[in-house]
Assembly symmetry: C2
Homo-oligomer: 187 residues x 2
């Protein structure tokens, strides 16, 4: 995975997160973000469709990356092993350089119902994509749906723990720990 590019897009992300935290998402405009980043609104729109996409532009990359990992799991992997490979692969994207943005993004979303809904829809899309990828691997429909739902549940809980926890713990480690907790819970 490429590191986030420096330059205008990075400055716009940083400016947006500052403003969302300072005055709230609803009270921040694209013009405010561009001003703070020292670029024009035209430049903003070269990078993001709107102020919401500053927060969600990475979601498709994440989805594609996780589904690729699921699909690439060995044919011998069980559905849960394939899902585990998928969610653990999130660590390739959510590396240490993205944790600060992720933590602040999480706080903005938690404070804004419209964004929470958007996040729920993104998570549902991931669940659907996992289910489809598992069925393509030959999993029975019920098993595919359950493994997909469970994998996304593990991802959500792990993500929340990662952004709230110590900075030096990789998200992949948190995910593995959450999976171990789950195995204990359901045993």
């Amino acid at each position: 995975m490429a590191r986030w590019e420096p330059g205008a897009a990075g400055r716009l992300r940083e400016a947006a997160m500052e403003l969302y935290a300072e005055r709230g998402y609803d009270s921040t405009t694209v013009a405010d973000i561009a001003d703070r980043a020292g670029v024009t609104a035209r430049t903003f729109f070269r990078h993001f469709a709107d102020k919401r996409e500053v927060l969600f532009a990475g979601s498709e990359e994440l989805l594609n990356h996780m589904v690729a990992a699921l699909t690439a799991a060995p044919a011998s992997a069980t559905p849960m092993e394939a899902v585990t490979a998928a969610v653990v692969s999130a660590g390739d994207i959510f590396d240490a350089s993205r944790r600060d943005f992720s933590r602040r993004r999480y706080a903005v979303i938690a404070a804004t119902p419209e964004l929470q809904e958007r996040e729920l829809i993104k998570m549902a899309s991931m669940t659907a994509a996992f289910t489809e990828a598992l069925r393509n691997r030959g999993a029975a429909p019920d098993v595919a749906a359950l493994a997909a739902e469970t994998g996304i549940a593990v991802f959500r809980v792990s993500f929340e723990r990662w952004v709230a926890g110590p900075a030096d713990v990789p998200i992949a480690d948190v995910i593995r720990s959450t999976l171990a907790t789950l195995a204990g819970l359901t045993a």
Copy 2:
């Protein structure tokens, strides 16, 4: 749990489901539903706030019932046992008399993005309520969140299986079977 009342509310529900299936949710109005049920729009609004609430009016009852079951689980119950008691208690509400409505409701929601979003929000509310109830029982935050997410995942998958499966299988049996599948998946 009381059976659904006969009379105007029942006729309005039936009329709404017929119309949503025939012409789609978006193209159905409250006036259409009231006409089909043989009542006035004024009567409709005595029972439901709007056409969406015909589909979601039972959600709060379900949430409260499941949280009560979770809270009433023995103090010795593990978090997952308490969550299991909660989701299995959905069978008190989703009895055989509600399966036909539930099946048709599910199809309408699956066909309508606006309703899917609403359903996702309801499920997220349930997850939050389960998490809080588990924390009130003394569960650690991470364990509470994970058990709650997992329980709702089991509920969603089971509900889908129940409405698609044979009419004579109670939802509580489907939930127990899904929980057994989950234990096998995560072992």
